[in-house]
Symmetry: C2
Subunit: 447 residues, 2 copies
């Protein structure tokens, strides 16, 4: 609807002059409103008269622009709510991108991102909803729905969380939240209902109480409010992360791995310096690095000489590594009870450019590295040796394809270790609530 | 020298059967030894007889392989030291890559990395020396010398630090250290001599006392030894970082920026969510975000409408940003006393793919964004929107070229904020020692 283009067409669809001029024979499922804020009440009134039940208000210029002294936006929003309740309209927004729903062929993204997936994402920021959506192909996962909430004057976080709880297409839920608009007391019981079957990953933006405001001093800001979120997460089994990168890595982790039984981690590394660094990053993030048993050590020593190597944990191959030796080592480590995580320093650059092997074979080798019934989690860490465009591109291909090969390729040991620890913590929660037993076989939550 | 290839040639150089068979008319400046560890004493003895003064022992298989019960490697090293002192030979290594010295046409890297630069790097890990060297082209800086220390049985960290102190080609010094072999008491006074004129950036690997060993429990490990390193850094003005990525970012920072006068930071961001996140990352890393003055705010509001924007700090342009508006905003912020840092969320992907502008123009615009006499530090943060191969490649080109355009492009606000804070802390040290006055004009340490 746009009076400027009256009777014209766009992609086969006719423009109408007004909402009332739209013929009644085709009912309107959803209206998307993108007029200046001031006019939205008039449009909503017309939509109500037309019998439209669902309205997404894209327009901004509402309460998000208000100051201490000027509450114009808030007043406009109250007007909208009044009209909506008169006609029984449900509103998404205002000030939001709306819903990306590939199954329903509805999106705020462009065509290449329309594949259907199993991740449900709810974001209080439209920019972050778009950024997350556009990263899909490189992350190796797609969305059931990706929702930009905006000012939440009607439909809010709780409504969509409740929807995802029962949505069979959604296996994992990601959240970007800045603050709660209302119903804070409903959040904890709802999360407790969801987390036993669907992992919930929460990025809380605006950790400091000063938040979005610029102030000269903010002592104690974080100690206050964010601690509440941390406590809430602990009580509900919600997995907390610190930014979009961590959120996407945690989604990949939950999509790919079973719940680990222990914090025990084995690290396979190519260079001594990297091995030392990996130990720091692994242990500083809460994992532990048990010894390799004497027996396994001896077996590894049969095919890897000691010179230029360190066959303890972290294992360091130096110049002696070959794919065959790596695979054999993983196989041996898979039999060691003290490890749940095997973190492999993988270098697609080395394999492809130096060894001349194909990326396909490398991915396949790694996807078959663990015995099929293994309860270990094999994760890769790839950082480009040269950081050249070609190297970075190869790594990014490797990473985006890793998920479909049954493992996650992280860009740093720190990123991998954080995800390991968070997945283990999630397992602890499930165990506390008697939802899993760690001495059981493989526990997969999200498949 | 290799008896196997006696009288053969390689690239025009003749193989000799033994060291004694090399004619005396061409003196040997440096010998590089890459024979099995056991034979190294024999070779060293021959080199001594031949009058060779400098020997780099590449071979490994020395004390790094020793265990509690087997000290074979240590004994071999002692034998080498004995022979060396008999003949007055200085040894680098064993178990190291040696020296990358582009000016002297000597390297452990390949040809494309031979450009001369102003960064001196000393690494206790050969792998990290190589990794740092190979990243050069993508980092936008090169080395005066890049040194792999190995087991340091003779020449050690202190020797090379002392060399870099007086080396006119070296403006900035980077260090990767796992532990001190000896002369620990010489390190502090030496660093105090260096840091007033050359920033020293130190990555201490093996932060936990358990370090390279695998143990089940390491409580209190870090509290012990690493605290000593932190105290040492504080006392000497040494800049501590946590991994190679942080080290390279800090080198770029010191190469590019003057010492900041305050911690005041202005953030320019494209989306609201990113702005909230940036605030978290900036403030959690010790920077502060003062208000924009009423006067400047009004001036910005003249060319940027309020809808879809937040003109406070962090500034958020939403859909209203144009390069012209960005440049005008930077110009206005450059006049505000309360800011030292201006952190700009830059998106080469948006500029090149969406706007159709060239990367060259974008780089040039940014390099001229600040008035020439400004004491502000303009830094960019680029993260790929799509994380696609093309997007990542474009960002990596932007980053590698940013240094030559007078700014650093970091891959996250967190990375930028950490560097800002560390540079400010370094300034604090210089001020405590009365080496700079902050109320002076621009202070550039490393140019």
């Amino acid at each position: 609807m746009n009076p400027k283009y009256k009777d014209q067409e766009l992609a086969g669809y006719k423009f109408y002059e007004s909402i009332s001029s739209i013929p009644d024979d085709s009912p309107i499922d959803l209206a998307m409103v993108a007029v200046p804020a001031k006019i939205t009440p008039i449009i909503l009134e017309e939509l109500g008269k037309k019998g439209v039940s669902f309205v997404h208000i894209f327009s901004s210029g509402f309460s998000e622009l208000d100051s201490e002294f000027d509450k114009t936006g808030k007043k406009l929003e109250e007007e909208l709510i009044k009209i909506a309740s008169k006609y029984g309209i449900r509103i998404l927004g205002p000030n939001c991108m709306g819903i990306h729903n590939p199954k329903g062929k509805m999106t705020f993204l462009m065509a290449p991102f329309m594949e259907e997936g199993s991740v449900g994402f709810i974001s209080q920021s439209g920019g972050i909803a778009v950024a997350h959506g556009m990263r899909s192909p490189s992350l190796g996962y797609y969305f059931s729905k990706n929702i930009s909430l905006g000012n939440q004057i009607d439909l809010d976080l709780i409504d969509f969380l409740r929807y995802f709880k029962d949505d069979p297409d959604t296996k994992i839920i990601g959240l970007y939240v800045e603050n709660l608009k209302r119903d804070g007391n409903k959040l904890i019981p709802l999360l407790k209902e969801i987390t036993p079957t669907k992992p919930v990953i929460l990025w809380k933006g605006g950790k400091l109480q000063t938040g979005h405001q610029a102030v000269m001093s903010h002592t104690g800001g974080m100690a206050g409010e964010y601690k509440l979120w941390q406590t809430m997460a602990h009580q509900t089994g919600t997995i907390l992360v610190d930014d979009l990168k961590e959120l996407t890595e945690m989604v990949q982790t939950c999509l790919t791995y079973p719940i680990p039984k222990t914090l025990g981690t084995a690290v396979l590394s190519m260079s001594g310096g990297t091995a030392v660094d990996s130990t720091d990053k692994v242990e500083l993030n809460g994992l532990i690095m048990p010894r390799i048993s004497e027996n396994t050590y001896k077996k590894i020593n049969e095919f890897i000489p000691e010179v230029n190597s360190n066959l303890k944990n972290p294992l360091e191959y130096g110049g002696n590594n070959s794919m065959k030796a790596t695979l054999k080592t993983i196989e041996l480590l898979a039999e060691e009870k003290q490890f749940s995580f095997i973190i492999l320093g993988a270098s697609p650059e080395f394999i492809v450019y130096r060894r001349g092997n194909s990326l396909d074979d490398y991915l396949k080798d790694l996807s078959n590295a663990l015995p099929p019934d293994s309860d270990k989690l094999l994760m890769c860490v790839t950082s480009s040796m040269t950081m050249s465009s070609a190297g970075i591109k190869l790594n990014s291909q490797f990473r985006s394809r890793s998920l479909s090969h049954g493992f996650v390729a992280y860009d740093s040991t720190e990123a991998a270790a954080k995800c390991c620890y968070r997945l283990w913590e999630y397992g602890q929660y499930l165990e506390r609530r008697n939802l899993i037993k760690r001495n059981n076989k493989k526990v997969v939550v999200s498949k």
